[in-house]
Symmetry: C2
Subunit: 354 residues, 2 copies
């Protein structure tokens, strides 16, 4: 299945590392660096076609300067774009799919799963079949439904350790991935490449995902601490500072409420580093007062971040494994090569060497 | 590290499979079968010394009939016993440690972590150093504290996917295991074997745990559906029936409240298959009424189990990967051999073969 990915995305190196389409954080420079290093970099599509147009024009220019990474024989821009579908207008976005033909469009969190059908149809039509459709799911049931409704070219299976938005209730990839892969096989979809997301930040997680049956992995939190990430330095500092991600992060809808984001389907929330905002919520502080304090603190810039503050600090449980800021290309190469090395030596289990 | 385990437990086969000390479920027949198949089987110590004495006498008899598995050169019974320490009296249990010298005693959930010190000291003293001390933790912080306080011979690191009791808030082993292993190394404990627990039910999970750095794995839920498990057939049927463990199970203290178990330290709860009991709780049913209905339903035997009922159906998120009841020995062998096979072929990643 990993080999199949290489046919669709000829520039990639295996094991495949994908950078998640994180809103604002996933800059053109981040996406381009990841793809140029042998991964697949994603931009976040957002909700405004003109802004996405602008991001894609910038990304195209980054490839233009390096001819070896210029669009392949099928003239596809070797990155992807991800959407949080509940807030997006397909008719408004479709001209962008036609203008900038990207390698993949990643769909996630629609108002209802059936919305994936029209998105998949339009993406394939607008790109003449050159843009592949990726869909993110978080349960076995969703995976089967999504295959039936939209036949994505790639399924991204996100476990509950992931930072940022995901299902309120789900399993880690440790059990979710093999169960999903078995269910896909049993339902007659044995050939869809499945990528693992959630809690993976370095080589060991990538190797583990492959033993679980993944064809590649997606990392979000690790790329938040990439040089190219478009986030506040205060947030990056927190990613590097915080350890013990199982207790220092939690899933909640608080971050959406602080940002006054309305419209997430109710079975989603987001994992973030806990701070004063979460503590005050547990103590009964009203949303109105929380929002007021949050807006007040926004004025303090990088100083506002930390466990004394209320900044929205999305991060997955793997945050404790991230100790330094690095260029995105280095993250891709170290993680992929490190995973290959672990798999080559059979994880060091005695007698497991060939 | 896996090789180190083989020195301490000479009968084991690698990768090591351990059956968890599940109260009542972990029968003498289950523990003995697991150890005889090359794993390490555990009994649950419970709270009553006379009952544990009886269980250990029965288990000893099972080994007596098979000379090749009779106590090794150091006269140790090749199984372990696990305690939920908050409810246990060390002085009362200590004579049992002296009478039946088991290979390992597994400690978990004390009133305070410092209780592990006196338990570890007494176990080592009572057994003349022949019984090894295992301690279960669920965060990086706990792992470091426990090493400092009690220097266990083996650390069991349990992720949040696990069935039954565990920390209310923690990460999956996908990130918890590598972060813990790195922290142990940095703190000067590079040589303690770390076993992974939580969401592992078959070969792929075992292989994944090893790529994450585990020296072996613990499985609970998988052994609930072993022929030898001491649980109701209704419970076993649920383990086999239920899929999509991330949504069909959840963490809650409801099960303790239904069973009127008082005393779990407040940072623990338990993962179980959700049923009518959970739904009614969400709708505001009082504990008193829940308990009354639960006791009523207990009278219905195996018929009481299922999503229409209130039976306490502990299971981890891996429950959906369990499709058939099997002898425990077969579980151990298939899982261990299967994991070795996956590690040998480098998880099928192209170019990962030697």
């Amino acid at each position: 299945m990993a080999a199949l990915l290489k046919t669709s995305y000829p520039w990639i190196k295996l094991p495949l590392i994908v950078s998640a389409p994180m809103l604002n954080a996933a800059t053109p420079a981040l996406a381009a660096s990841v793809s140029q290093a042998g991964g697949i970099g994603f931009l976040a599509g957002g909700t405004k076609p003109a802004e996405l147009d602008n991001l894609l024009t910038k990304t195209t220019a980054l490839f233009g300067a390096k001819s070896q990474h210029r669009r392949g024989s099928n003239q596809v821009l070797p990155i992807g774009v991800g959407f949080q579908n509940w807030g997006c207008d397909l008719d408004a976005m479709s001209p962008i799919f036609r203008k900038h033909c990207v390698a993949a469009i990643w769909l996630f969190a629609p108002k209802q799963l059936s919305d994936f059908s029209s998105w998949a149809r339009e993406i394939r039509s607008a790109s003449g079949g050159r843009t592949q459709v990726w869909i993110q799911v978080g349960t076995v049931l969703e995976a089967l439904e999504v295959m039936r409704l939209a036949r994505p070219d790639v399924l991204v299976v996100q476990g509950t350790d992931a930072g940022g938005h995901g299902l309120r209730q789900s399993a880690s990839i440790i059990s979710l991935l093999p169960e999903t892969i078995d269910a896909l096989k049993a339902a007659g979809y044995p050939n869809v490449p499945v990528l693992a997301a959630g809690g993976i930040v370095e080589a060991r997680g990538v190797a583990a995902a492959h033993t679980l049956g993944a064809a590649g992995v997606v990392m979000g939190t690790r790329f938040l601490a990439a040089d190219e990430a478009g986030i506040a330095r205060g947030w990056q500092n927190e990613i590097i500072r915080v350890g013990d991600g199982g207790t220092s992060t939690k899933r909640s809808t608080l971050c959406d409420r602080l940002k006054e984001t309305i419209g997430w389907p109710e079975h989603y929330d987001g994992r973030a580093i806990t701070n004063k905002g979460h503590l005050d919520e547990d103590s009964g502080l009203s949303d109105a007062e929380s929002v007021r304090l949050y807006k007040e603190e926004l004025k303090n810039g990088d100083e506002a971040w930390g466990d004394h503050g209320r900044m929205v600090t999305y991060a997955g449980t793997g945050v404790g494994l991230i100790k330094v800021r690095k260029p995105a290309a280095q993250i891709v190469q170290e993680t992929s090569n490190g995973a290959l090395e672990i798999l080559r030596r059979g994880a060091g289990v005695p007698d497991s060497k060939l």
